[in-house]
């Protein structure tokens, strides 16, 4: 019903989608976060994701449990990459299925928004002239 994965391997997006498609599901929403080639006009060479693994998984679980308590969902899959990612690579996939689209859209948005606020995963952007841990400084 719920599948959460932190992985150093490339994320298999079609597989994430297949996992949530059930005969009783009519609406599926999928969010895919990829590595952008620029931040505030500066070229990004690559990203590095670091996770506090057990706590990150447990915080994602909490978010998914909260989402399933609020909306009538069928299945939820959250896969998040760790390690070094090149531009264009998939950093996160959130796939949500429900009987109707409203629950799928709303829950998918809730999960990614909350994940970005509470889950102990850190992103370092590497530029031509240096690197920075995102969100650390004002």
């Amino acid at each position: 019903m719920v599948e959460i994965l932190l992985t150093a391997q490339p994320i298999d997006v079609p597989n994430c989608i297949n996992e949530v498609m059930l005969p009783e599901s009519g609406g599926i929403d999928v969010f895919i976060g990829t590595v952008r080639n620029a931040t505030k006009g500066k070229n990004v060479l690559r990203l590095e994701f670091e996770a506090y693994q057990p706590m990150a998984v447990s915080e994602i679980e909490k978010i998914v449990v909260q989402a399933m308590a609020q909306w009538p969902l069928h299945r939820v899959v959250v896969h998040h990459r760790t390690g070094v990612l090149q531009v264009g690579e998939v950093a996160v996939v959130i796939a949500v299925s429900a009987a109707h689209r409203d629950a799928a859209f709303t829950a998918c948005r809730y999960i990614i928004d909350t994940l970005k606020q509470t889950v102990p995963i850190w992103k370092k952007e590497v530029f031509e002239d240096g690197e920075v841990w995102v969100a650390a400084h004002p």
Partner: protein, 80 residues
Amino acid sequence: MEVSILAFGIAKDIFSGPATSMVLSRGATVGELKAALELKYSRLGLLVSYMIAVNNEYAQDDLVISERDEIAIIPPVSGG
């Protein structure tokens, strides 16, 4: 008692490694740990904010720490 504190993200740079250790009085709280850390590592104060996790849960300042706890410093997260 001596406790070990795991570091992630920018906290690894601040601690110059993936963990640091602090000597605290028995019965010390998370708030006391934070004060001691900020005294030892002044760059912590330059962060937007940071949290302490105890046994994989975000901890409030009044939580009492024991030597067996898994303690981690959680600088501002940026996953997704």
